[in-house]
């Protein structure tokens, strides 16, 4: 059995297989037909209405909560996992509703869910109960905005229809700024789970939902992984609404769209996509939505997991989604026509599509004046190459190409290596692994010990290794330089990619010298040129060459960046007119007698 399986796998890996259906997506400038959406929407509305009508009829025969049965169905079913209260409607009888709630939330076993019974003074006293989840609902809001108005201010004189009671309470009694009326449990339960308070009333087949979210959360703090000296310091936090708020605060434009959807069947997590509707390519927005919608899983807890679900090339080392925790950076990408994906409970926002160059940029490059920004960028480009090939070059030079370095230096290297008992490659791997371990330990170690770890790692280990004659002193410089350079790469995933690849390069250099390094570079570049992120080649705008402003590796002055990147195919290509500094135009027109070149 195992052998057969193994044989099948080996054959599968070494033979060619037709791809069944390649869902290739190429970002193009075409605007999708609006007709389709128009056609679809009334149908959807119709079916929705039908459901409600059917539902209303069904309400006379209340269903039981189908927990067990549904779970059994789930086991065999490949489709989306259905909730146990699907199609369950609010019953006019309060007692039945309470039973439902007890059953859904496993009460009284589950201590988080609170049921508060009270009486509303409508035509006569009406019994009611409120349901909310302790810890994620704000106590004061529940008291002040739900219970107080319903118990105190509901002394009604007028007669109202039983069904309209909820609507009446919503419009005239309850203070909550976001209130709603629902009759289906599948609409009610997720809201309770997300901090809202549900009010069920005797004789009313609808439920009043009042938004009472309120939990302990981190306030908006400083950016920790993408620090800048010049520029705003605030960072996203774990609350989705705060994050969308931060972006909306920055982009005060009615065209900024925030679309919500849910991912995860067992634990629905809110995911928001934000884009400018008059700028972002509609095909791109559709593709993002399509990929998000198509995800069928139990739970997506972190944006890193979501990234893995939506990226194009999961096995390639280079990331294809840009991750940032900075609202200002996200804002600039949205203003370029990209799409931001925000996941609830995450301070990291995903930006798509990503290109390799923006992965190597830092927001500060733009905030600094052009010469400084370029200097930093040049430094970073050099850092990328140092991080990638320095250990490999060292190995290549010491093993194969001694003739390429000046005699004095080679003598120094040879003298340093004289006492070292290991081959170069062993000593390089030893030190590189030690360095990686220090780095990993630095992340995992409790903060108190963390500070000392650097000293222990760098000083004691390096110094002692040299003194013990295990490694040569020049190697310490090589490893330290490589480490420093890899820290200079602004994107965390990118840094990981280069750190991993450098080991492969070092191995190649140990076997083939510079020939091996060149082979590695060739294969790497070929891999990168074949990659795409949401239909956009990763190396755009230079591989393939497309029209682009002066912002690729180096950047031009901000006033010369007149057009948005061509590869995004945005609805409006132009960022600013050819002469964006009006005062220059005024001066020149004054001189030349009012000639308008713009």
């Amino acid at each position: 059995m195992i052998l057969d399986k193994l044989k099948k796998n080996i054959i599968r890996y070494f033979t060619f297989h037709e791809k069944l259906k390649v869902e290739g997506f190429v970002l193009s400038g075409a605007v999708p037909g609006k007709k389709d959406t128009k056609k679809q929407s009334p149908k959807k509305e119709e079916s929705k209405n039908k459901e409600t009508k059917d539902g209303r009829r069904m309400k006379k025969k209340p269903q039981r909560v189908k927990r067990e049965k549904t779970q059994q169905e789930e086991n065999g079913a490949e489709t989306k996992i259905s909730s146990p209260f699907e199609n369950l409607l609010v019953d006019p009888e309060l007692k039945v509703n309470k039973e439902y709630i007890n059953e859904i939330y496993f009460l009284p076993k589950n201590k988080d869910v609170i049921i508060r019974d009270f009486i509303i003074q409508l035509d006569g006293p009406k019994r009611a109960f409120a349901v909310f989840v302790e810890g994620i609902s704000d106590r004061n809001t529940v008291n002040e905005n739900v219970l107080k108005p319903l118990m105190l201010h509901s002394g009604l004189q007028e007669k109202i229809n039983a069904i309209d009671v909820a609507e009446y309470l919503k419009t005239q009694i309850v203070y909550g700024n976001q209130t709603d009326v629902h009759d289906k449990y599948q609409d009610i339960i997720p809201q309770i789970n997300y901090g809202s308070t549900a009010v069920f009333i005797e004789g009313v087949p609808r439920c009043l939902i009042v938004e009472t979210k309120g939990w302990d959360r981190r306030s908006i703090g400083k950016s920790e992984t993408e620090q800048v000296i010049r520029g705003p310091h605030e960072a996203f936090n774990e609350t989705l609404r705060s994050n969308t708020g931060l972006l909306r605060k920055a982009i005060r434009n009615h065209n900024l769209i925030t679309e919500f959807s849910k991912i995860g069947a067992r634990n629905e997590t809110d995911v928001a996509i934000m884009y400018l509707i008059d700028l972002a390519n509609p095909n791109l927005v559709e593709e993002v939505k399509r990929r998000l919608k198509s995800i069928s899983t139990d739970y997506v807890g972190e944006s890193g997991i979501l990234e893995q679900f939506i990226e194009d090339h999961p096995f390639m080392p280079i990331p294809q989604v840009l991750v940032t925790e900075r609202p200002d950076r996200t804002t600039s990408f949205i203003m370029d026509g990209k799409v931001a994906v925000l996941l609830d409970g995450n301070p990291n926002v995903l930006i798509v599509p990503a290109d390799l160059f923006s992965l190597l940029h830092s927001p500060e490059d733009y905030y600094l004046r052009m010469p400084y920004g370029n200097m930093v960028r040049l430094l970073r480009v050099i850092a990328v190459f140092i991080a990638l090939i320095t250990p490999a070059l060292y190995v290549g030079v010491t093993i194969f190409h001694q003739e390429m370095i000046p005699t004095d230096l080679i003598l120094a290297i040879a003298a340093g290596r004289e006492t070292v008992p290991f081959p170069t490659i062993v000593e390089v791997f030893f030190m590189e692994f030690a360095f990686e371990m220090i780095r990993e330990a630095g992340v995992r170690v409790p903060g108190v010990i963390g500070n000392t770890l650097g000293i222990v790692g760098a000083l004691i280990l390096g110094q002692a290794a040299v003194q013990a004659g295990i490694v040569s002193p020049i190697l310490i410089i090589v490893v330290a330089l490589t480490g420093l350079a890899s820290f200079a790469i602004p994107n965390y995933s990118m840094s990981f990619a280069f750190r991993g690849i450098r080991f492969i390069f070092t191995g190649l250099a140990a076997i083939f010298g510079f020939f091996g390094i060149t082979a590695g570079l060739f294969i790497l570049l070929n891999g990168i040129t074949s990659m795409k992120s949401f239909g956009v080649p990763l190396l755009a705008p230079i591989g393939p060459r497309t029209k682009s402003g002066p912002d690729i590796v180096m950047r031009g002055p901000v006033w010369s960046m007149e057009e948005r990147p061509d590869f995004l195919d945005t609805q409006d290509r132009r960022r600013q007119p050819n002469v964006s500094r009006g005062w220059i135009k005024e001066e020149s027109s004054n001189k030349s007698g009012g000639d308008d070149n713009n």
Binding site: F16, L521, N526
Partner: protein, 369 residues
């Protein structure tokens, strides 16, 4: 017959096409080509290059005229339309054979050149294996990836070559270029004609014609531009080679460009730069060989009407590997290359010209396709 091409759609732009062709033609400059030129033209080798450029451009215009009769069709399809499916297939197979032999021989020469310049104790098979693996991966990833890679790396290669040549400025001796006519005008002209094989790789544009996102006029310009610019570099390298290395030694060097980079001496600290330039020319070798492999795969696919090219790669790789290791010695490979240079124009220029003539006579154009 309709070709059911089920590979992912490929569209190459102007810049990518130029870069790919330039590297496809120009890579031989890193091998024995400058020596071959000096062999043919002695002191007037540079003049020979100049004349060859002009002749090659003339041939290219003929090929473009053939391609423009059948817009959007590759040379393989055109062959079959003009000559009928059987004869067309025969011609295509001859082209394929030429591509395979030339690429595998280059694979051997490049591998040997790596041994000579960088890894003197390494076995030849190890070099060939690494080349072949990289070629396989690159060809598997597709034409788009290779062409973009070529476009991105071409500026660096040009900078590297220019730097080597300019750094030799202190050794330039203009007297070495005289007498101007070298071996005499008649022989010079004849040898220039032989030398057009060096530009035969321009046919790549014809083989890949359906993949380009531009029209026939641009294709013509790309061809002329590529021949002219690569020719300029051949000229530059040949002149430098003649001026720096004395003629008797210039006739003997196995790897002239490497010898040039070894000759650089700009003071005590800038004298051993050849290892740095190894990166440039080996990178070019990888690109050249990968283009050769994918071209062979595409020609096979289109000639034999196969839906995919990727399954062909392992078979082609084995053929390349075996053919590369067939010559017993490096010198044998070099003499094969010499014969290729002498007679390559028959395959690359004469056959397409013949087909153009047949197309004219039989009045075949796109409507008959």
């Amino acid at each position: 017959m309709i070709i059911i091409n089920q590979d992912p759609p490929v569209k190459l732009g102007y810049s990518e096409a130029v870069a790919m062709v330039m590297i496809f033609i120009g890579s031989k400059a890193f091998l024995g080509y400058p020596r071959f030129l000096v062999d043919l033209g002695l002191n007037a080798a540079w003049l020979l290059v100049f004349i060859s450029i002009l002749i090659s451009i003339l041939f290219w215009l003929v090929i473009v005229s053939l391609l423009n009769r059948f817009p959007g069709k590759s040379l393989m399809e055109i062959n079959q339309i003009v000559l009928g499916s059987f004869l067309g297939l025969v011609v295509n197979m001859i082209s394929l054979l030429y591509i395979i032999i030339s690429t595998s021989n280059l694979l051997r020469i490049f591998s040997d050149a790596v041994i000579i310049t960088a890894l003197p104790h390494a076995p030849i098979s190890a070099m060939v294996i690494l080349f072949v693996i990289a070629m396989w991966i690159a060809a598997y990833l597709g034409l788009e990836a290779i062409s973009r890679n070529a476009y991105i790396s071409l500026p660096f290669i040009i900078i590297g070559v220019t730097a080597v040549l300019l750094m030799l400025y202190p050794f330039w001796d203009i007297k070495e270029l005289f007498p101007v006519m070298g071996i005499g005008p008649a022989r010079l002209l004849f040898n220039s004609f032989l030398n057009i094989s060096a530009f035969g790789e321009i046919l790549l544009l014809g083989f890949l014609a359906p993949y380009f996102s531009f029209d026939g006029t641009k294709l013509k310009n790309i061809g002329i531009f590529s021949i002219a610019s690569v020719g300029f570099y051949f000229l530059f390298i040949t002149i430098t080679y003649l001026m720096v290395i004395p003629l008797p030694s210039a006739l003997e060097s196995l790897t002239p460009f490497y010898q040039l980079s070894r000759s650089i001496y700009l003071g005590r600290y800038y004298q051993r730069l050849e290892s740095v330039f190894i990166f440039f020319w080996i990178y070019t070798a990888f690109l050249r060989l990968s283009i050769g492999l994918i071209l062979a795969a595409i020609v096979t696919r289109e000639s034999l009407k196969i839906p995919y090219y990727r399954p062909l790669l392992p078979a082609l790789i084995v053929i390349f590997f075996s053919l590369a290791l067939t010559p017993a010695q490096f010198v044998t490979a070099i003499s094969i290359e010499k014969y290729r240079m002498w007679f390559g124009w028959i395959f690359t220029f004469l056959i397409p010209t013949g087909i153009w003539v047949v197309a004219l006579i039989r009045r075949k154009d796109e409507t008959s396709g």
